[in-house]
Point group: C2
Chain length 299, copies 2
């Protein structure tokens, strides 16, 4: 079974390396420099003391690239999806798995409906070291659900049965798993990026904790997901278990990359508008972070 | 006529230097080191190319200090007022002028009612260079109004007639001049401290401008002062004319000092509570800045 992984950030490199244990994998990346490096050096996964290098096929991805694999895993960031979807529209009957944060990618699915679409949420901590190397900073699960309930795929059955070290859990409903991840990302990522602190500071600093609760309350009022107290416990549990980490949004700020603020807070603001609910603090933080991006990008 | 200036920050040094042109002035400061330096070196005012040094009397200030001057000008920050008020309570019939930002100092006035109390708002830009030197970065007015309408003082008449270069404007009502200054401080200071940018960026960055309007709307809903559009024009005018400045709150953040966030946003939150009005974004920004102070002070 042949797998195409589209996007070669931390998630793309990690999944390519792991799935290559049982599938034939090809990475599709955007930059020629990275293509050449992966071609020459393979992909290296660093997991504690273990350093594991693997040869993996690699190809440049553009609007015209012809993808022959039957299974496509999209690990590119939300803000790169639009151009990727233009390419994917022409396919039929492929299994396509989206591994994005946030919810905005859902809006593209109507353009891909001749395929079998799945969404996933990853619990692994992964940090890209360079174009060919990724650190595994925390092990977790991959939660996957079909976007159309009746869809199944042999790919996931094989993954589940043959790759016990990199577990996948199949769920029936896609909304709860994405919403549960979104509320965690909406609370932790924007605030750590705004304050420039590691995740744990949101809990240990009593004033930051108050602002965290404020964002949680607004986000929860929009995302119809679980019971409030349970969901708050879930958010603080993740924040505790990742207390020393810099969130992906903070890292993006630090390294001058575009952040996922549109996919996370921007999505909540859109939904708030539809539901005619005010989200004043999320609106404020959204513009504060967009403003910081602007300052940075004009420097 | 003898004047006591209590507090030897940028404002205290500037006013001591200017008023010493026509009055006998004594500075009261908190730290022995600064007392000794002012005693030895005098006070230096730097205004563009001009460097002007003056000998000025100086004394340490504590709860027990006996103040003999008839006119007291309080230039200490809001958060230092409580201990100063303990000393001032014992006096009668002194002219006391408060030059603080914010509004919290009003709450102490009932303890001083046997004196003639005035409040002032300063438009000068002043930056402390070291314990004896202050830069005049922008010239303006001193707007003063009595806290009890019928009060007058010969001191202000002398100032007005003899010190044309450092003008004072007497107003009848204290509330409008403090509220007008407060709304400027509430919009510019917290956001520049949060984003760590000079004042002008709030206007030139379209996302920051949106957050500025949000804070303005909430602050205006509490402060019953003037017409909304006029007040917004006033705020943006000040922001434009100080576009290259670092606000006092940003400077306090940068130099590890306590900020005036309690006197500014804290006051608005108190008033909001009394009026049963929600100020969600000011509440958020207040706790974000208090959290940053905590992080900094625990480092």
């Amino acid at each position: 079974m042949e797998i195409a992984i589209i996007g070669a950030g931390a998630t793309g490199l990690l999944y390519a390396h792991q799935l290559a244990n049982i599938f034939r994998v090809k990475i599709y990346c955007k930059r020629e420099e990275q293509r050449n490096l992966i071609h020459k050096e393979g992909v290296t996964l660093i997991d504690g003391e273990q350093i594991m290098n693997k040869k993996i096929k690699v190809e440049l991805f553009s609007d015209e690239t012809e993808i022959n694999e039957d299974v496509l895993i999209i690990t590119a960031k939300q803000y790169s999806l639009e151009s990727i979807i233009r390419n994917l529209k022409k396919y039929q009957n492929k299994t396509i798995l989206f591994l994005q944060n946030g919810m905005n990618h859902i809006t593209y699915f109507h353009e891909l409906q001749q395929n079998k679409i799945f969404v996933g949420v990853i619990e692994h901590g992964a940090k890209k070291e360079n174009d060919t190397t990724v650190y595994l900073t925390g092990k977790g699960l991959t939660n996957v659900a079909p976007y159309n309930e009746h869809h199944t795929s042999l790919f996931f059955e094989n993954w589940d049965s043959k790759l016990k070290d990199f577990p996948i859990v199949m769920e029936k409903q896609w909304y709860p798993i994405l919403a549960k991840k979104l509320i965690v990302n909406a609370v932790i990522n924007p605030l750590t990026a705004l304050y420039k602190v590691e995740n744990g500071k949101l809990l240990s600093n009593k004033n930051y904790l108050i602002t965290m609760e404020t964002i949680f309350n607004e986000a929860f009022s929009i995302l119809n997901v679980g019971k409030k107290e349970e969901m708050w416990n879930h958010v603080t549990k993740i924040c505790t278990s990742t207390s020393k980490n810099h969130s992906s949004m903070l890292r993006d700020m630090e390294t001058g990359k575009k952040t996922e603020v549109d996919a996370i807070l921007g999505y909540l603001l859109q939904e708030g508008k539809k539901a005619k609910k005010e989200l004043p603090v999320i609106h404020f933080v959204y513009h504060a972070l967009k403003g910081m991006e602007n300052v940075r990008m004009n420097e």
